[in-house]
């Protein structure tokens, strides 16, 4: 992540603000565990499916920095699997841990207690996880049309309901681009700034004011402080 983000390494925004959406505590530990013990081939299964259709509207692509979800519980299908026959017992044998989390999709809206308790859904009132996440293939998001999209294209998901903001984002007015004004630029995803589950933009601490009064309003020194 750091290296891909080299471009903004000079800025504090990387350390704070937009980029600290996920508390890096338990998440990181989990990810590490999941990645270490996830059986080989898991990620590939997902890759082979190629769920993105080449529709006309989908054709327009934008380069984005890696979605934050890749630093979190990804791949989701380490646990969420359509077919769990044999997997859990085998994993439990291998790791003694992940197996009990392996599960089939459960479309029933409910309060989650065994996992994802940190997710506080505070978007539109009627919203449920599976309005956005694909039921069967949890590594993907799903549009209203049924089309599956990868997390890199989550802007299309948000764009379905936030049309005018999405239009502004596409022409660079909403959100932010980094890199080169002339040449390769990356578009920050909506989810780099807004937590999709609770999207209201959070307040930030301001940085220190200038030391007063080194210079006055007119740029003229009022008196030297030393």
């Amino acid at each position: 992540m750091k290296s891909t983000w080299g471009v903004i390494a000079t800025s504090t925004a990387e350390k704070e603000g937009a980029m600290i959406r996920y508390p890096s505590t338990i998440m990181g530990v989990f990810l590490l565990l999941v990645l270490c013990i996830a059986p080989k081939g898991m990620a590939e299964t997902a890759g082979n499916d190629k769920p993105d259709k080449q529709g006309a509207e989908a054709a327009q692509e934008y380069s984005v920095p890696p979605p934050l979800v890749y630093q979190s519980l990804y791949p989701c299908q380490a646990c969420h699997r359509r077919d769990t026959r044999g997997v859990s017992s085998q994993l439990e044998k291998e790791s003694g841990f992940l197996g009990k989390y392996i599960r089939k999709p459960d479309p029933q809206p409910r309060i989650l207690i065994k996992m994802h308790r940190n997710i506080n859904l505070n978007h539109a009132e009627w919203m449920w996880c599976l309005n956005c996440h694909d039921t069967d293939e949890r590594n993907y998001l799903r549009l209203i049309t049924g089309e599956k999209i990868s997390f890199e294209k989550s802007y299309r998901l948000c764009g379905q309901c936030h049309g005018s903001i999405f239009r502004d984002w596409k022409i660079g007015i909403h959100g932010r681009r980094v890199g080169n004004w002339k040449g390769k630029k990356l578009y920050l995803l909506c989810s780099h700034c807004h937590d999709p589950h609770s999207p209201q933009f959070r307040k930030l601490p301001a940085e220190d004011p200038p030391r007063s009064p080194n210079y006055g309003r007119w740029g003229v020194i009022e008196h030297e402080q030393e």
């Binding site: 471009v7 903004i8 000079t10 800025s11 504090t12 925004a13 704070e16 603000g17 937009a18 502004d168 022409i171 660079g172 007015i173 909403h174 959100g175 932010r176 681009r177 980094v178 890199g179 080169n180 004004w181 002339k182 040449g183 630029k185 920050l188 700034c193 933009f201 307040k203 930030l204 601490p205 301001a206 940085e207 220190d208 004011p209 200038p210 030391r211 007063s212 080194n214 210079y215 309003r217 007119w218 740029g219 003229v220 020194i221 030297e224 402080q225 030393e226």
Partner: protein, 289 residues
């Protein structure tokens, strides 16, 4: 120009006298105005500066002298409906552009105003570092507006400040005599003066510099925002644009109809500060909602 001719003529008799007690070298004193330098002059100036900086800071700088890119005219947009006044742009600018930490120099000033107020004179820029945005207020960051019709340039007696073909108003610190007429002429309070020797902790120095931009300055010269000339002439975004957590800062080539800034002007209501003065800033403020 006149200064140069005069000095050249009087070199043998006067220069040495004039220089005694001053930390300039003779080469530096005789250096041509940047706009008149030949390739060789530039190379010589570059090597001299790099050497001088190595002695002073104990590190190697990458000194660029890139000219304006063809068919490029920069403009800048700032979305006042998004700015929250967090000052991340200020600190990114200080770091990127080697602004003196002590005495403190900051090219960007963030003014906070009461909702409904439009009077810049009633703004506050020393407001405390609390959680932002703060209800009841809005903020306007101000930096050099890179005017198309810059009053600061007109008043400079030594032509040490001028407008480049890409629209950036620059200062040649070697030609600035510190008279500060430009500061008095600027209606946006955008220029800063090094009233004492600038200082920066060594590990915070940015060694990627441009002659007309963020190279280390000396006492007695004026400096200001250059749209990060050392970055933008290489195609990159200015530091403040990338640092803004709310994405309020937009930058690009106004001659390119697809650039963000062209789109802002095309689709949003924009305005410029103190438009009645006819300075024609290349810096646009706008409301996206």
């Amino acid at each position: 120009m006149d200064r140069r001719k005069f000095i050249k003529g009087a070199v043998s008799s006067l220069a040495v006298l004039a220089l005694s007690g001053c930390d300039q070298t003779i080469e530096e004193f005789l250096q041509n105005h940047f706009l008149e330098m030949s390739k060789d002059d530039m190379e010589a100036a570059r090597n001299r500066l790099i050497k001088q900086y190595r002695e002073k800071f104990g590190m190697d700088f990458k000194l660029g002298m890139e000219p304006a890119l063809p068919e490029v005219l920069y403009s800048y947009g700032l979305d006042l409906s998004r700015c929250i006044g967090c000052r991340r742009c200020v600190s990114a600018c200080v770091q990127e552009n080697n602004q003196s930490r002590k005495p403190q120099i900051e090219w960007i000033r963030v003014l906070r105003m009461k909702n409904g107020s439009l009077d810049l004179e009633e703004s506050e820029h020393y407001y405390e570092a609390e959680m932002v945005p703060k209800e009841g207020y809005y903020t306007i960051p101000i930096q050099c507006q890179q005017c198309e019709n810059p009053p600061c340039v007109k008043v400079c007696p030594t032509k040490a400040t001028w407008q480049e073909p890409d629209g950036i108003v620059v200062v040649d610190y070697n030609w600035c005599i510190g008279c500060r007429y430009c500061m008095a002429a600027c209606p946006y309070w955008a220029r800063r003066f090094n009233f004492a020797e600038p200082s920066i902790p060594k590990d915070e120095i940015n060694p990627n510099i441009h002659y007309l931009g963020n190279r280390p300055r000396m006492r007695g010269v004026v400096e200001k925002c250059t749209f990060c000339i050392q970055r933008t002439r290489k195609g990159r975004y200015p530091a403040c644009v990338e640092a803004c957590p709310v994405g309020a800062r937009k930058f690009g080539n106004i001659l390119d109809p697809e650039s963000e800034i062209s789109k802002v002007i095309e689709t949003k209501r924009v305005f410029r500060l103190k438009a009645e003065l006819n300075t024609q800033p290349r810096f646009y403020y706008f409301f996206s909602i």
